[in-house]
């Protein structure tokens, strides 16, 4: 009986390779969703702004574009330093920690400077409810600031893990991707919102 039974043709299932570490892939997917969120903000802001003859609306304070340009440079430099830390991590590991720390300091400077700028704008009367100008400014720039704070915390954790010798490569990569996103989206926001 058994001899008459033909074996069911089975095809070997294709071997699946992971495209990368889960933390890196998850971070990339997260970044895609965040990009869409910022795109929605920018689109809504552009449509609202186009309805006004002058921007900022009459009676509303101007944003400190020149001072923020300096802050923008600090943030961009922070991204460059993290890239150098990435390179040093594999080629000149002794320097990686210094680059990481410098990147962390510059990122913190960016957020603190923004806090100072916000305090000044609030004193000048720009609030979430003062106008569309204030509402969009705090919504868009505030969302970015939240991301920056989260990324700085992640960078700090990465740095301390690095110093303690428990840093894993995939964790460092995922954090880098997050920080590059924070750095990369800022110039777009700066040109659209501040100028």
């Amino acid at each position: 009986m058994q001899e008459n039974v033909l074996p069911f043709p089975r095809r070997a299932a294709p071997r699946r390779q992971p495209v990368g570490p889960s933390s890196v892939v998850a971070m990339l997917i997260f970044i895609v969703t965040e990009l869409m969120m910022f795109a929605g903000f920018i689109s809504a802001f552009s449509i609202t702004r186009a309805a006004y003859r002058t921007w900022p609306p009459i009676g509303q304070p101007r944003l400190p574009a020149t001072a923020t340009l300096l802050n923008t440079v600090a943030l961009l430099l922070s991204g460059v330093l993290l890239y150098l830390a990435h390179r040093a991590y594999t080629k000149q590991p002794a320097r990686a920690g210094r680059f990481m720390l410098a990147s962390l300091v510059l990122g913190s400077f960016f957020v603190l400077f923004q806090g100072y700028e916000w305090a000044q704008l609030l004193a000048e009367g720009l609030t979430m409810t003062s106008s569309n100008h204030g509402a969009f400014f705090y919504l868009i720039i505030g969302t970015h600031a939240l991301h920056a704070v989260a990324a700085i915390l992640a960078l700090a954790i990465v740095y301390f893990k690095f110093v303690r010798g428990t840093l894993q490569r995939s964790t460092f990569l995922a954090t880098q991707i997050f920080w590059y996103f924070v750095v990369g989206v800022w110039p777009v926001l700066y040109f659209r919102v501040y100028l």
């Binding site: 390779q17 992971p18 495209v19 990368g20 570490p21 890196v24 990339l28 997917i29 970044i31 895609v32 990009l35 869409m36 795109a39 929605g40 920018i42 689109s43 809504a44 552009s46 449509i47 609202t48 702004r49 186009a50 309805a51 991590y89 594999t90 080629k91 590991p93 002794a94 990686a96 920690g97 690095f162 110093v163 303690r164 010798g165 428990t166 840093l167 894993q168 490569r169 995939s170 964790t171 990569l173």
Partner: protein, 100 residues
């Protein structure tokens, strides 16, 4: 009978369709920011295509490189056995660099 009823219902809905849709921002546009609406729509259509396309392209290139042996599948993976020990600063980093 059934098809006649479907036709009648469709015709009723189409005839009764409002000329102004409340969910349509263009219907309430003052005309000054029509360009912003159009460019905003194009922008919102392009961003997901580019970002998801970029992610897919990266995955395709990466898998191709793995298949061709250019990149090891575990190139960026962690290994607890190879994780650096807590022996302080630069010595730890040097140990990690030897993994590659």
């Amino acid at each position: 009978m059934k098809s006649l009823l479907s036709f009648a219902m469709t015709a009723f809905v189409l005839l009764g369709a409002p000329l102004v849709a409340h969910a349509c921002p263009m219907c309430f546009s003052t005309g000054e920011n029509d360009g912003a609406f159009i460019y905003g729509s194009i922008f919102l259509m392009v961003v997901p295509v580019l970002s998801l396309g970029g992610l897919g392209y990266w995955a395709y290139r990466r898998l191709k490189a793995i298949d061709e042996g250019v990149v090891r599948p575990d190139a960026d993976a962690d290994s607890s056995a190879e994780a650096p020990q807590n022996n302080g600063g630069n010595a730890v980093v040097l140990q990690m660099s030897q993994r590659r």
